[in-house]
Each structure stands twice: as C-alpha cells, then as structure tokens.
C-alpha cells in the first residue's frame, strides 16, 4: 500500500478518523457511564455528580447483588430461555426453510405457505387476543410460553431460504445421485454449508431472547419466573408519584438507588458482550452471503 501524501487526502483521513472516533465514543460512553455509576457512592450518583469516573469508589452494589437470590434466579431463567429459544427457533426455522427453498415445480404449495408466513409476519392480532390464545393453550406462567410463542421468526426463515437457494445446484444433484433422501440432503449437505447463516440467525435469536422483557412481564405470573430483563425493567421503571401511598414513599430511596440498578444492568450486559465477538465473524459473512444473489 502506497501512502498518498496530498493535503486533501490527509484531511480526508483525519475527518474519517474523527467521525469513527465519535461513533466509537457514542457506543462506549453509555457503557462507561453505567459502569462508573455502579461503582460510585449512592448519594453522589443520585445528585448527578457522576460522569465517566466513579465518585466515592466502592464495590457495595456488586456485593449486594452477589447476595441477591432473585437476581440470579432471573439470570438462570434467562439462560434457560436463551438455550431453549436458540435451539427451537433455529431448528424449526431450518426445517421450515428447506422445503420453501425449492421451486414451486418441486413443491406445489410452496407459494401458499410462503404467503401464509409473510402474512403472519406483517399482521398480528394485537396484545389481548394474543394473551388469550396463550392462556387457552395453557402456557401461562411457563418458560415454554417465552420460547414457543413466536418460536418461528419469519424473517429468519427468509434469510435461511435465500441462503439455501444460493448454494450450488450441482451439490444437491450429486447427493441425489448418491442416493440421499430429503432428510439426509438437509442434514449432510445443506446445514453444513449454511453454517454462516445459521450462526447469524442463532445470534439474532440469542440477543432477542436475552433482551426481551415484555413477554416475560405479561405471561409470567410470578416474579420468581421472570427472565432477567423483566426483572431489571421493574427496577428502573418510573413510579408515578401522584398515586403513591405512604408505604411507597418509604421506599423512595431504594427505588432511586441508581448505583445498584446500574450494577445490575452492567452484569446483565456481560453475557451478550461475551457471546458477540465469538459469533461476529459468522454474523458479517452470513448476512452478505445470504442476501446477495449470484
């Protein structure tokens, strides 16, 4: 690589660097801020005196979390949900995508199924009918409600279909000649070739299940069963002071305990932060390969 040294290109490089640094800062500052607050004195955080460096450095909030059974119970629920949800969504998605990746000539009702899926992706019945359906299916207050309801993300299916279609036809024909049936074709030819897109889809699913709090709130009847983000959401949600009653203002101080809440948020971020780099290389490959047609 030859370095050009015209003034114009230097300015351009400088600008580029500045913009990239700015974007990096935008991503990092909230993270550092949360960390700084979590390590600060409680009253200093409440008074807004903490910015990117802790004031009154201490580990109290982390010590407190270590002794908090509810936090870890929710943490485990979330892990369980991510594992189950990741397996189920990716598995069903692959099974759904394989037949749909065939042409209507090979699979006559393909377009009917496809439209059915697209319709379900674009329209939904709204919160109440959905809630009543889940209830009549007996899924209330049950971990399966969180992974089975919406267990087939249509968008992911479309990604996988496109990837399957872009795989070389010759490989399929070769397998056919060697006597492979549809199941063998899927597991021994298509799935190994589609690892990038499957990893992508898996990552999407993991992140979704880890961050999702609303279903946990609506479908779970007990706080012991809340996934982690639902647990955290109820800590940081703002209490409406206008309807507060006597015993609630006694709790005002705990409710506004920003340091503790920040510590919880920070710990909750860690698993995704750890998983991301490992799956990221697939993530980038997968999304370009799956969407570009040859």
């Amino acid at each position: 690589m030859v370095k050009e040294s015209t003034i114009g290109s230097k300015i351009f490089d400088g600008l580029l660097l500045a913009i990239l640094l700015l974007i990096t800062a935008l991503c990092l500052v909230p993270l550092i801020y949360t960390l700084a607050v979590s390590l600060s004195e409680k009253s200093a955080a409440a008074a807004g005196r903490v910015w990117l460096w802790p004031v009154g450095f201490n580990f109290n909030s982390y010590k407190q979390i270590m002794g908090d059974g509810a936090f870890f119970r929710s943490f485990l629920t979330s892990v369980q949900r991510v594992v189950l949800g990741g397996i189920i969504s990716t598995g069903i998605g692959t099974l759904m995508a394989y037949p749909l990746s065939k042409s209507p000539r090979q699979f006559r009702l393909r377009n009917v199924f496809m439209w059915f899926l697209i319709f379900a992706m674009l329209f939904n019945g709204g919160l109440i009918p959905w809630y009543m359906t889940m209830k009549s299916l007996g899924l209330m207050d049950n971990i399966w409600a969180l992974v089975l309801g919406g267990g087939l993300p249509v968008f992911h299916v479309i990604l996988i279909i496109n990837y399957f279609r872009n795989l070389p036809k010759e490989m399929e024909e070769a397998a056919l000649v060697d006597g492979a049936g549809p199941w063998r074709m899927l597991w021994s030819v298509f799935v190994p070739l589609a690892v990038p897109v499957l990893a992508t889809v898996l990552l999407f699913t993991i992140v979704y299940h880890w961050n999702e709090f609303f279903h946990g709130l609506v479908l779970m009847s007990r706080q012991d069963h809340y996934p982690l983000q639902t647990y955290i959401q109820q800590l940081v949600v703002i209490i409406d002071a206008a309807n507060m009653t006597e015993d609630q203002y006694k709790r005002m101080n705990e409710l506004s305990n920003q340091t503790l809440n920040s510590a919880k948020i920070f710990i909750a971020m860690i698993p995704v932060l750890v998983v991301y780099p490992f799956l990221q290389r697939f993530f980038i490959h997968g999304i370009t390969l799956g969407s570009v047609k040859e």
Binding site: K42, S43, A44, A46, A47, G48, R49, D68, L127, I128, Y131, M132, K135, D141, L217, V218, S221, R222, Q223, D224, Y231, Q233, Q234, L235, V237, I238, I239, D240, A241, A242, N243, M244, T245, E246, D247, Q248, Y249, K250, R251, M252, N253, E254, L255, S256, N257
Partner: protein, 564 residues
Amino acid sequence: MKKVGLLGLTLLLVFLTACSGGGSSTGPASAGADGGGAVKEETPDPFGKYEETITLTYGKSVDATDKSLPVGDTPETNQYSRYVKDMLNIDTKVSWQAASGPNYDQKVNLSISSNDLPDALVVNDMQLRQMVKAGQLADLTDIYDRYASPSMKSFIEKTGGIAAQSVTFDGKMYAIPSVQVHADGVHQLWIRKDWLDKLGLEPPRTIDDLEKVAEAFVTQDPDGNGKDDTIGISGPESGGLLYAHFLASTNNLYGLDPVFGAFRAYPGFWIEGEDGDPVYGSILPETKEALGKLRDWYAKGLIDREIGVRKDAHEPVKSGQSGIFFAPWWMGYGPLPDAIKNDPDANWQAYLLPLDSEGQFNARMGTSSTQFVVVRKDYEHPEAVVKMLNLLIRDEAKFDISVGIGYYPLRVPQSAPDESEYSAKALQEVLAGTKTPEDFNDPGYKLLAADLQNVKKVKKEPYDNMDIQYWDPQADLGVWSRQYSLLVGASTLLEDYNKVYSLLYSQTKTMESRWTNLKKLEDETFLKIIVGAAPLEEFDTFVDNWKKQGGDKITEEVKEYIQQ
C-alpha cells in the same frame, strides 16, 4: 304451570330439609355456611371467622426492591396471609403478581380486557370505571353496610363524602376505597434555611418576597463555592406536572402549586365560579396572572432553566444546587436523606408559604382515594374482602412490620385522614413534656405509639428547634425520615389555612374521549408561556380552543354531576 313448579320446588325443599335435619338438630345453625339462601339469618360480624375455609384469588402488586420477606416466605404465603387464614379462615391465593406501578397496571388492564379476573383486585380510578361499565363487579352496597367495621366507616366518613363518592355509581357502591392522609395533597414551600440565614433573609411570606429570596439564591452564591450554579426555584421534570390536577391530585413533587395558590388560581381543579356554577380553574384570569409572574421569573432566571425537560427533578435538590421547591410533607423519606448525605448542613425547612394578598395560604386538597378494592361479580363471598380490610385496620399496629405491610393480601392504605398532623402534634406535646406517650391511645392512629417511642432516638435537644443540626439522622435513618417528615413537614398543617377542594375527582363521559388532548393542550401551552416560547396572550387562544374542543361540553357534564 308456574304455580305447580313452585309448589314442586317447595315440596322438594321441605323434603330435603327434613332429610338433612333428621340426623341431628343443628340444621338451622349450619345453614349459613353452606348456602347463599340462608344469609339473611346470619348476624353480620365484621370479624367473623368462616366455618369452612374459603378461597380467594387475587392479583398482587409487589415491590421489586423489597427484601423484607424471611427465607421460605413468598408474596403469596407470608405472616400476613397466615394471619388472615388463622383469624378469618380465608385462604388467599395469588393468581398473578407484578411490580407495583406501570407493570401492575398493565396486568390489571390485561385482566379487564380479556375478562380473565381473579376474585378480587386492587385497581385505580380509571380501571374501576372501566370495570363498572363492563359489568364485571359485585355490588358492595349492602355488604359494606353490614360488614364494614366502625373504624373503616369512620375513616371513610371523615373524608366528607369524597371517598364514598369515588366508588358510587348510580347509587351503588362497587369498591372499597383507600383512605389516605390528606396531607399528601397539600404542597408547601421547602426552603434551604441555612442559605436564608447566610444571606440574612427571612422565609418569603408573599410572592414579592419569594421573588427576592429566589433572586438572592441565584445571584449571591449561597453555597459559597464561588460558582454561579445555584437554582432559585426547582420545577417539574420532563413529564412532570406544573400543578396537581383533579385526576392526579396528590403528591406532586416539584410542581408550582403554592405559587398559583398565592394568586388564588387553581388550575387543574373544578371550582365554583362567581355565578355558583362549576368552572375549570385553568381557564380563569387568575391562572393567567400567575403564569405571567412565572414567565417573568423564568426570564430573570429564578426558576430552574431546565423546567419540564430535566430528566430527574430530584437531582438539583440532592446535589445541593436548588434552594426552593414545592412538595408535600413527607420529604424526609426522599429526597432529603440523599441531600443531607451530600451536604450535612442542608437545612431544609417547610412552610405554608407564600401567602395571597390577604395573608392566607391557599392549599388545593387532594382526593382521599386513589386505590380501590373490587370484587368479581360472581364471587361467592364478596364480604370476605371487607372482613380482611377490617382485620388490617384493627390489627395493623400489632404486626411485626419488619416484613413490609404491602404483603397483606389486597391491602389498600386506610387511615384517619388527619393522621400526619395529629401525629405531629402528639410528638410536639410529648417532646415539650406537656403530655406523655400514654395520653395517646386512639387505635385509629396506628403508627403513633412507635413514633412516640422512637422520636428521641433521632431528635437532639433543644426539642423545639427543628434545624438540621439538632437532629441525628445517622442514629437511624428510617426513624429520622418519618420523624423529620412529621415534625418539619406535617406540623405546618396545624396552622390555619384555606383548603380548596375540587368539585370532582374523576372523569365524566366526554372526558373519556377528549380529556387527554385537552390536558395536553393545557400542559404544552402553559409550559411554553412560562419558558417564553409563546407570548402570554397565547393563554386567551388556549381558553378559546379549550372551550371549543370539548371543554364547554365537559363543564356542562360536571354541572349535571354536581347537581345530582
């Protein structure tokens, strides 16, 4: 044909009675327990224990930050639910639980709209109306008459009809209301007395005084850090209220209510107009006058520059930047603990100020009831709920409150409306030595005995000086919070002041569709006027628009409502 059927039924009944009575002679005595038909024979006992265990399911709001339950206990099974079981033989079961606040509301709304209701629930005003309208609730009129204990009835009566009015629809009572202390609705002036002393000022008695004090706080560096960073008067945060209104009439922290009161303006309240008809306070000239003054103050920099956009209005108070804010009596619970931690000399004192031109403090009073216990229409034992609340009122003082009282099944706070002032007076008298703790034994004031016992833990001599240096918050912050709130925040309410009630604390029919927009129009216009984004004349346009967009119709409805 009908007669024959009736005859047959009678014969059948006689036959059945004869059969069941054949074994023993206790037939009539046990009849009350096994059938609704014989209820009229039973003498209603507010604390009567059921002979056979009954089950009651309910939705529970829990406090996510509360860690007071002993190991092994749950929000469903704890010392309170066991007490209810032992005393009344009611087995309480939690159908679902959610964190108090928006999460709980969400769950309740879902239950209402999917008609998937537990036997009983605690709901808010809007939800109560919705459920009445949908015909989901049991009529509690008779049950309240017969089963409510004298204490409960006296609390509800002491509110002067407000509590009863809030749960009565077409002459029928559909819920048991909470009865909260009315001190929650009185917003007063909280001021840094140490700053006043430092600058040689007195607490501001009038609007003009307030202006001078705020100006001094802003310009004369009262915190002595050499920086121009102090705020005269704190304002509401983003999404906060400039003043309490008839639908959210209590506990408005950092609003500007007393400033409006000093102009005898009551925006957000339905008050009696000059002709005796109800009128909405926000459209009256007094409100315009008050807004003009606030606009003037904002321009001079006396009010928080970030009014209405600040993320957390507690912040400037906790950090020691702010010198004045308006709020109810209980500030010792929060934000003051953090404020004195950051600055142990922050001497926050409360006053019923500023006064109007006739030297009177005008306080808008809140509603007594914001929470309601309702019972599902077909539930077999609606009186069970009343019995549980009777028991709570009677025995609350006896409970071991190291476990949060919020775990009592279906609890809504019910107490004497004047509890805060009464307690403050009792504390003053005991501190002064004119009375002893034994002089106070009215069971209606459940926390008083503990208060009188604890006060000297945190209050240092001299007992009649409430400045912060004569307190010892470190001794027990929890006790300090309550005592400071009572002695500083609630003792002011013993003075004589003008109590202004809204004629209505709930919505009328047209409000259901229009009010959100009207209120938004009002809030936006007023905030714009104060920060100078719109001229004061914008107020007149607002009044016209308000009337046209449904305000006139709503006023008519309120009038009809009052005349009923």
